[in-house]
Amino acid sequence: MNGKGMVTIQIDGRTMQVPTGTTVLKVADQAGIVIPRFCYHPAFEPEGSCRMCLVEIEDLPKLDLACSTVVREGMNVWTSTPKVLQARKNVLEFLLADHPLDCPICDKAGECFLQDYYDKHGRYASRFLEAKEKKEKKIPIGKRLLLDRERCVLCTRCVRFLRRVTGTGELGVFERSVKAEIGIDEGTEIVNNYSGNLVDICPVGAITDGDFRFKTRVWFLEKGRTVCPRCSRGCNIVVQSVRNYPLSGRQRRIYRIVPAENQDVNGYWICDFGRFGYHDIEDNRLTAIAVNRGGPAEGRPHSWEDIVKGLAAEIRALVDAGRASSLAVILTSSLTNEELAACRKLFADALGVRSIFFADPKPGKADGYLLTADRTPNGSGAAALGFSPGLPELEKLAGAPDLLIIFGPHLLEHYPAERLADSLKGIRRKYLLAAHRSGLDALADIVLPTAHPAEKKGSFTNVKGTAQSFECAVKPPRGCLPEGEILSRLAAELGVELE
C-alpha cells in the first residue's frame, strides 16, 4: 500500500515508493542510478533542451526526459536499454561534432560532463568529415570570467542562473540554429556578487575563471569541506588545494573555493566575496614566531614550547601577585566556538580576567542574498557563549594592564595607528596571535602565527543561530598553530583543565 502522497514506480527493475510530483531524474539520483544530463540542474526547473537524460518508460512510444517527467503510479522506467544508450550516444555525437576537443588545455578537463559521458556512453569513432563551426574562444564577460563558445553545449545553465538566482540577466542566447551562442549585451558585463557560480555550474569548459585558468589540473586538487569565514552566513564551501606534487618542494597552494550544497544555509551557491577569499588563506601569512621585544631566548629561533612556557610564566606571576586584573584579552569573532569556550574557561573562569574585549573586522554591506554585513563567521557563537563583544576603550587600555593578549589583526581597523601605538606603549607585554600580517605586528612584543579558519576543525554559529561543525579543510603552513591548540598548551602549562 502506498503512504499518503506517495506512488510506487519501478526503475530498472527496482520497486520504489516515491513522493507524488517528483521526477524520474530525482528518483534515479536518490537511488544512485546515474542518468547523464547537461541542462538539468536541481536549482532550476527542468529545461529539457540537452536531450541527454532520455529514458524508456514502458507503454510510451517515444523516449522521455527523465528531468521533466513526473512519476505516475505504476510507471516502469528503464534507464539503460539499448534504445536509451543509443540516444545518449547520438546526443554526444552531436555535441562533440563541432567541439574543439581541446581538453589538454581546458581547465574543465577531469570534471567535464562531456568528457566523462563520452568515456562512459560515447566511445564511437568520429564520422564528422565537415569543417567545424569556428567560434570565439576567449570572450571576457565580466569579473574574471571568460567565455569559450566552441566548448559551449548551450545548456543555458548560466543564462538561467543569472535570470533566476541573481535576477541580473546579463547573459542570453543569441542567433539560432548551429550559430546559436551564449552572449552578453554589447557594453555590459557580469557585475553581480555571484558570478563565480557560473564556472561551477557550467558542465563543460565554456565559462572559466581567469584566476584559476591554466594554473593546475583538477585531478591534483585535494578537497576539504569547511564553512566560509568571510561573513556570518556560514556558507558551506570546499577548499581545493595542492600539496607537494606537482608543486616543487614541500609547498602548499590553494587554487579555488567552490560551494558545497547545504539547502539550509546556502543552497548550491556562494558569493564571490567568499569564493575569492581563497587568496586570503594564502596571502600575507605569518608563518614564524616573531619576538620584537623581550621574551625568552632572544636571538635564536623560537620554539612554541618556549613561547608558551614564557607566556604561562608571565600569567602565573601576575595571578600569584593577585594582579589578574592587569591582564587583558582582546578576542575576535573569527574564533571557533571551541576556541571561544576555551578562552572563557581559561581567562574568565580560571584566571579571573575581567578585561575581555573583542576586535572584529568592520561591518561591510549586506548584498541582500547570502553575504551579510557582519564579516565574521561566529558573532552568534560568541554571543551564545555569553560574551558581549565590544571594543576596548583606548583610554582605559592605556597603561592599565601589564599583559595584553590580542587575537586577530583587526584592532588597527578601528583606531588611528598613532593613537593605538600610544595607548599600547604603556603595556608591559603584548602578545599578538594572528594568521595574517598587519600593522599590529610591530606594536606587539611577541607575534604568534595562527591558523586560518579553513585550517582548523571546530564549529561556527551562523547568523540564523545554526551551529556548523567542520574539519580541517587544508593543513596550516608549517610554523602556524590553531588558536585552540595554543590555548590548550597554555592551559596545560597553567594547570587549568579545559575539557
Partner: protein
C-alpha cells in the same frame, strides 16, 4: 470533377469587404449562435462536426477547446496561427486575403464557445499587406458591433489583435508562437504543461490554424451534419490543397478531405508540367515524408497518409519533376531545416546542420560511400528525440528521400 462549392476562398475583387461578406450571409451564423446557444452547445456542435486541425497535427478542434479549464480567475486567450511557414503551404494567405471576415467570424464563434475575450492573430512578417487587411477588417467589424464590448447586444465581448512575427519558421510551432507574442525569443516550450492550461501569459490558451478557425462559421451556417458530409465521417469538411512545383496548374484547390492525391495532381492541377514526369511528391508540406509516383493514389486524409507512412500535414502538395536531381532536393530540404532550427535542443541544432553539410558536400561531388548511412543515422538521432516536433519535421523528409531515392543519391556520390 467535384461538385463541391468552394466556401473558404470566395472569388471577386472586393470579397474581403465586410459588406460583401454580409451579403454572402456572413456573421448571421455567429449572431444566431451567440444569441440562441449556450457556449457548451457550441462546443458540442464543433465536436459533432469532427473538425480537425488544419495546421498539421490534425487534432480535433472541439476536444482541444474542451481542455481549457473553466474560469479560474486567469484570462483565456485564442491564438490564431497565421505563421504559415511550412514550405509548400500558401492556403491561409488566400483565406485572409479574400475572406478575412470568415476568419473573424470563426474567431468570434470559437471565443464564444470557450469563453475567451481576447484573440491574437499571429501572422508572419512576410504577410504585411495581409496583416493590414486583417486590421482593416477588424476595424470594420468593430464599427458594426461584430467585435467589441457587447457583440450583437449579447453582452459577450471580444477584442482581436494582429501580432506580426519576425520571419522564423519555428514560430509556427504553437509554444514558440506564444513565446513570440510574449516578446521573447521564439523557442518552443517544454511540454507539459500544455497551452490549454498554461499558455499565453501563463493563461489557458487555444491555438488553432487559420483554416481551422475559418471552417467554424460553416458548421453553424450549414450544420454539423452538412459539414461532416463534405468530408469523411471522422474528418469533416474540405481541405485547401496547395499544389506547387512541376504541375501545369499550380494553385489552391478546395476539395473534400480524402480526395486522392493523384486526382488532385492529375485532374485539378493538370498533371506534370510540360515534358516532365513525376519523380516525387510531398503530400503535406515539406515536413511530410516524400512519396514516389507509385504511392500517389493515397486519399488525402490523416489516417490514409499515416498508413502510407507520410502525413497530411498542412496539405501543401509539392510535385517534383524528373528533371530535378534528387540531391538538389535533399540539399534544399536539409538547408531549410538547418537554417530554421531554433538552436535550443541538441539533436535538431547540430543534426540539421550536419546533414545539410553532408548533402552540400555530396552535391559538390565530394560524397563518400558512408554518407547515406550517416545521414540516416543522424536523422534517426533527431527523430522523436527533440523538444518540439521540428526534429521529426527535419528527419522525416530526409529519411524518406534517402530511403526511396537511395539509388539516385548513390549515383550522385559515385559520380
Amino acid at each position: 470533377m467535384s461538385d463541391v462549392t468552394a466556401t473558404l476562398i470566395p472569388a471577386g475583387e472586393n470579397s474581403f469587404r465586410l459588406g460583401a461578406y454580409v451579403g454572402r450571409g456572413g456573421y448571421e451564423a455567429a449572431r444566431k449562435t451567440i444569441l440562441t446557444m449556450k457556449p457548451r452547445e457550441v462546443l458540442e456542435e464543433v465536436k459533432k462536426a469532427n473538425l480537425r486541425g488544419r495546421g498539421g497535427a490534425g487534432f480535433p478542434a472541439g476536444s482541444k477547446w474542451a481542455f481549457v479549464p473553466q474560469a479560474d480567475g486567469r484570462p483565456k486567450y485564442l491564438c490564431v496561427n497565421a505563421d504559415e511557414g511550412e514550405p509548400g503551404t500558401f492556403k491561409d494567405r488566400a483565406i485572409m486575403t479574400q475572406d478575412p471576415h470568415l476568419l473573424l467570424e470563426g474567431i468570434l464563434l470559437t471565443c464564444y464557445a470557450v469563453g475567451i475575450h481576447t484573440a491574437f492573430i499571429y501572422i508572419r512578417a512576410e504577410y504585411e499587406a495581409i496583416a493590414q487587411r486583417l486590421e482593416a477588417a477588424i476595424e470594420e467589424a468593430r464599427q458594426k458591433g461584430f467585435l467589441g464590448p457587447d457583440i450583437f447586444g449579447s453582452g459577450f465581448g471580444l477584442d482581436v489583435l494582429v501580432h506580426r512575427g519576425a520571419g522564423a519558421y519555428i514560430c509556427g510551432e504553437e509554444t514558440a508562437l506564444l513565446e513570440s507574442i510574449e516578446g521573447k525569443r521564439g523557442m518552443p516550450r517544454l511540454k507539459p504543461p500544455f497551452p490549454a492550461s498554461v499558455g499565453l501569459f501563463r493563461s489557458p490558451t487555444v491555438i488553432n490554424n487559420v483554416e481551422t478557425i475559418a471552417n467554424v462559421p460553416l458548421i453553424f451556417r450549414y450544420g454539423a451534419d452538412w459539414f461532416v458530409a463534405r468530408g469523411l465521417p471522422r474528418d469533416g469538411g474540405t481541405r485547401i490543397f496547395g499544389v506547387s512545383g512541376a504541375v501545369r496548374k499550380p494553385g489552391l484547390y478546395e476539395l473534400p478531405v480524402g480526395t486522392p492525391l493523384g486526382k488532385i495532381i492529375y485532374e485539378w492541377a493538370g498533371g506534370p508540367a510540360e515534358g516532365q514526369s513525376i519523380k516525387a511528391v510531398v503530400p503535406g508540406g515539406l515536413s511530410a515524408p516524400f512519396l514516389t509516383p507509385e504511392e500517389i493514389d493515397v486519399p488525402m486524409d490523416y489516417e490514409s497518409l499515416a498508413r502510407a507512412k507520410s502525413m497530411l500535414g498542412s496539405a501543401g502538395v509539392i510535385v517534383i519533376g524528373d528533371r530535378t536531381p534528387i540531391i538538389d532536393v535533399l540539399r534544399i530540404v536539409a538547408r531549410f531545416y538547418a537554417h530554421e532550427s531554433c538552436g535550443q535542443c541538441t539533436p535538431c541544432r547540430i543534426g540539421t546542420t550536419w546533414i545539410s553539410k553532408i548533402a552540400d558536400r555530396i552535391g559538390a561531388g565530394a560524397g563518400t560511400s558512408g554518407d547515406l548511412d550517416l545521414i540516416r543515422h543522424l536523422a534517426e538521432g533527431m527523430k522523436a528525440k527533440t523538444l518540439c516536433p521540428m526534429g521529426d519535421a527535419a528527419a522525416f523528409p530526409v529519411l524518406s528521400i534517402v530511403e526511396k531515392f537511395g539509388q539516385e543519391l548513390g549515383e550522385a556520390i559515385s559520380r
